[in-house]
Symmetry: C2
Subunit: 315 residues, 2 copies
Amino acid sequence: MAPVLAGDRRALARLISLIEDNGPTARATLSALYPYTGHAHVIGVTGAPGTGKSTLVNELAKACRTRGQTVGIVAVDPTSPFTGGALLGDRVRMQDLAGDPGIFIRSMATRGSLGGLSLATADVVKVLDAAGFAVVIVETVGVGQAEVDIARTAHTTIVVEAPGLGDDVQALKAGLLEIADLLVVNKADRPGAAQTARALEVTLDLGRNSRLDGQWRPPVLQTVALDGRGVNEVLDAAIAHRAYLQESGLWHRRERERAYSDLMRMLERELVERLVERVGAATLERWTEQIAARESDVYTAAQTILAQTEESDHD
Amino acid sequence: MAPVLAGDRRALARLISLIEDNGPTARATLSALYPYTGHAHVIGVTGAPGTGKSTLVNELAKACRTRGQTVGIVAVDPTSPFTGGALLGDRVRMQDLAGDPGIFIRSMATRGSLGGLSLATADVVKVLDAAGFAVVIVETVGVGQAEVDIARTAHTTIVVEAPGLGDDVQALKAGLLEIADLLVVNKADRPGAAQTARALEVTLDLGRNSRLDGQWRPPVLQTVALDGRGVNEVLDAAIAHRAYLQESGLWHRRERERAYSDLMRMLERELVERLVERVGAATLERWTEQIAARESDVYTAAQTILAQTEESDHD
């Protein structure tokens, strides 16, 4: 554990691989690391495809480094066992950021189980936090449940837009807007950037943002990540958001919400593991067969299985 | 229940709203409906933004109607409470398909809890199946976990591509490819369609498709959904895939897998509800506070809570 806490890169890489493989060793080490967490500013960066998220993350990391802060980057990659590795991110970024000991980059691929990805990502964020990185940036490609899970992991969620995307993409934005603490219109040198920014402001005026549980109104910023324009302002806004969270007490509230949902997920996993062990695979198989044959339904099956377990408790 | 089984539109709409609200009434009705399910061909249609999925779904539904089959459409919409309704789908489609009693269209919005959306979608598919729709099409906008959950709900998953999308979108495809039973290059009248199709074939040659558990190689088809070109061929391929599933025994295997995962999710939900009731909110609060303060960690907390519950069993 000591090498991980000291930020040793090979130890970090090894632990993260363990987490991806969901081994019991990782579980024990994570418990031991947990008291050392809670110091990093976790920033989520998300948005529809084509907005230039990766470049923005790259530039944000460089801006942090200029200010003397260490940065961990977790790029959640919808790549699959099918392609066998990271498609985006690393290769491009490496040229720019590699060699800097103050930066650690990790792509999270799915390795078969997409379901476990958001859990694993949250764990990797904790590892980088415990290892002492001042800022941890989590980048997601894709739009959907993953973004919401990341918003739960991050203190500050940046939603990236770009002018001139199609209708489908516009529609997707609605779901993302509500998790945004900061809105960035990237590729702001393209036609339509000012309109996109205005449209976002209007949507903010109209709607309610689920993060709007205090006095924070997500600022709408414009960047040209390719040449770094506007990136420092985004970082300033993220830092201002962090200060706002701490002063308003929301930082603590989000910590508690995260702790609660982590606890419930752990209990869920443990409960199911114990039940399966107790009831036995054969019984579950039998019920599954009956459900598939429409001789029973999941609700009846679950009730019966649980009633039988409770009965055997009182024998 | 009878009106739902008879396909009464108002009864259907009411039950689906109950499902979205996750009421206990819906749970009981769903159990009662379950024996009547298992007859519909469930087709999932998914793909990156900008590929023209909605138009393709529209045309597929029309092609089914021409062949005399009834069609239920479930459009899973990443819209939020923020915007208050369906952004895509319905409004456009309604003009074309509304008034036909052989078609039932429903948009599923998120209503706050994105997590429950895939569960609710699976339930709505069961309702439409029980109501006698021969084909149920589930459309998702967005890329990520939702797609995988839908692949689990559908017998046949169609992944829609389009020529000339950006790099980000190309990368997203990798994650989708492995859940595809059919690949469709839509907007095939645009430059680059043949190349996109060839690239997909090459990727299929290189990789392994998780659905490739038999002899089925996902065909790569080209459509221009806007004018209906190629749509009949897609429907033919979907029907061929259904026949393949049934002859190979995979249909039954997938039914069993679905039954098993539904059962496990129901058990999970019941177990957690019972535990919370038993342990009490105050105890969970106390642990949450300790975890947030880094005085404990989720693993230790979960183990302790469960050990105490088991002890009190034996008192």
